[in-house]
Amino acid sequence: MTDLPPPDAPAPAPPPTGVTAPGQDRLADGEWHRLHPATPLLRGGIAFVAILGVIIVNLRDIVIDIVFGGPDFDEDYNPVTFILEHDYLGLVVLGIIVGLLLTIGAFWLSWRMHTFRITDQLVEVRSGILFRTHRRGRLDRIQGINIVRPFLARLVGAAKLEVSVAGEDANIQLAYLGSSAADDLRREILLLASGTRQATDATAPAAASSGSLVTDRVNELLAPELDPSLAPPESVVKMHPGRLVGSLLLSVGTIIAVIAVVLVIVFSVQLEVGLVIFGLIPAAIAFGSYNFSRLTRSLRYSIASTPDGVRVGFGLLSTSNDTLPPGRIHAVQVSQPLLWRLTGWWEIKINRASSSSAQGAAGQANTTILPVGTMADVRKVLELVLPHMTGDIDLLERAIVSRGGDDGFTTSPRRAAIVRWFSWRRNGVAQTPGAVLLRRGAIWRELVIVPTARIQSVALNRGPFARRLRIAKVRVHTVAGPVSAYVGALDQDFAVEFFESVAHEAVAAGQADRSHRWRDEGAE
């Protein structure tokens, strides 16, 4: 997806005068554009400010000592006294000014040299001063577009747009753009990628700008998911903070932590060593901050349907907002951790072809598409992520909660109970016209749905022990991700039949699939 210009080609000339800063007009017009002017500050400038802060804090003591004649000023030999004694003050000031100018110049130059353009085939980014990089992504290979707004960037109204293309670390980052420019650009890229011919019709109705810069910023902070050009998509799932807290409390980690704390307290009381309790504090802090970050990033979860795919938003302070075009979801897993059974909550994860986008806002893995939800929520999310299966949602729900038996699944034979003690009745597979369903587990319940058009290959495995039981394992290969699509302990004759049938269906569905240009009906 990425390529450097051929070595003999002259380095791309500095952008011609036609280069425009974002925010002026459409960005996806095939011309080269520059990023948001605050980019250098947001990307590297923060480190610079931090260094400056450290220096100032360290010098503060010395300065206070000099001014107020601190007690140990005379004994201390510090840089400031050195400079003052040798009359280097002018030199130092000059050095600082030159250093500052150089840094600012370098930042400015790197901003000048960092340009991007979007044509109707490609997304291209050129960057670097000495070492030029030139990265290109094909629009029909786009796996998703993520808009991330780290907290500081949100304050200045900037956003990072990440176009993920299939492959390891194959993402094209446009950091940073103006907040509303990023939203517009995403819509335009998606339009171009979708194969719609008249992409130009989609010129944005100008964002409802209220004029004042401050009110704009405030509005964005309060409503970061609001896309000014579309009617704001209504999230189909509402995340209640209480449920989120409950879901974290009901995790195995929490239970273990509570038991450990109780044990430690009991022992320390018994043995009369009270200080042991203080040893728990670091662990408590670590545990608390882990859960707190999970909480804050899931707190403003939203999922909505847009014409160009599913949009998933996360994050409270730093937000991320990911759009997945149709046909970019390679596998879906609905699962239920043991303790969530008490409350009837479920979690949905997906596999997608781009992997480096794993870091969304605050480290949110972009593969969790529903952090916690009831069965009603699961149904709504499944409807969104599997648009071709909306008619089968009832079947899916039955498949998820069923204890096994008459539900369309072919499950493990009775003799496989040796290897699937509790789940042999439930452990099984089914095929619908658009997908393969694989179900596992009676205690930790899971259902994996793989759209047939996304299957990469199918495998059938049997080890020596399974051979004695006349059972086999079928694995459907999809792109790498948290979901693994396999079911073991199937009757071997059925497994062979199923393997053949899935292999056949995968070919047919792959041929018929046109979702890489999802709005381009019929034409290749």
């Binding site: 290979r141 290959s457 495995n461 062979v496 393997f499 995968a506 070919v507």
Partner: protein, 159 residues
């Protein structure tokens, strides 16, 4: 009873590959068993000979079943997909639709090259696919690669 798929005519790999596999395993065995023998030889502790001894047994068994294992490797070009099988004790069948192949690699190790064999590796977007057909005569491997690339091109699908 071994697992069989209905109506399949497996194409087997060259018998010469048995030699390649045997020699490769033998070299590995010498290195590993030799390495594991250093400790008992130096320390003089007779009990430590247990480690290289048991390793040697494992390698002997591996060598003994190698011919059967190589004969169990097979592949078939069906109308729309490539079918691959290997293993006797741990059997594995994989079906890869042609349109899903991202690239086809031809590799030659030093041993295989000495007897004129190549290895064909198929890569899809899923890392788990892992289909590698060893022991193909060089000409056949080249021809197969060109054919598969052609097939993949004509049936190219998205991801």
């Amino acid at each position: 009873m071994t697992l069989e798929l209905p109506d399949t005519q497996w194409r087997r790999v060259s018998p010469k590959y048995i030699v390649v596999d045997l020699v490769g395993t033998l070299i590995m065995a010498v290195i590993v068993v030799g390495g594991a023998s250093i400790a008992p030889a130096v320390s003089g502790n007779a009990w430590l000979w247990f480690i290289p001894g048991s390793l040697a047994v494992v390698f002997l068994v591996t060598l003994a079943v190698t011919p059967r294992r190589v004969r169990a490797i097979g592949y078939q070009l069906r109308e729309d997909d490539l079918l691959f099988r290997r293993g006797i004790l741990f059997q594995r069948f994989v079906s890869v639709p042609y349109g899903r192949m991202q690239l086809v690699d031809v590799n030659r190790g030093p041993l295989a090259r000495a007897v004129g064999l190549s290895e064909l590796k198929f890569v899809t977007a899923a890392a788990a696919t892992g289909v590698t057909v060893p022991g193909l005569p060089e000409a056949e491997a080249e021809e197969l690669r060109d054919r598969l690339v052609g097939l993949a091109e004509s049936r190219r699908a998205g991801l």
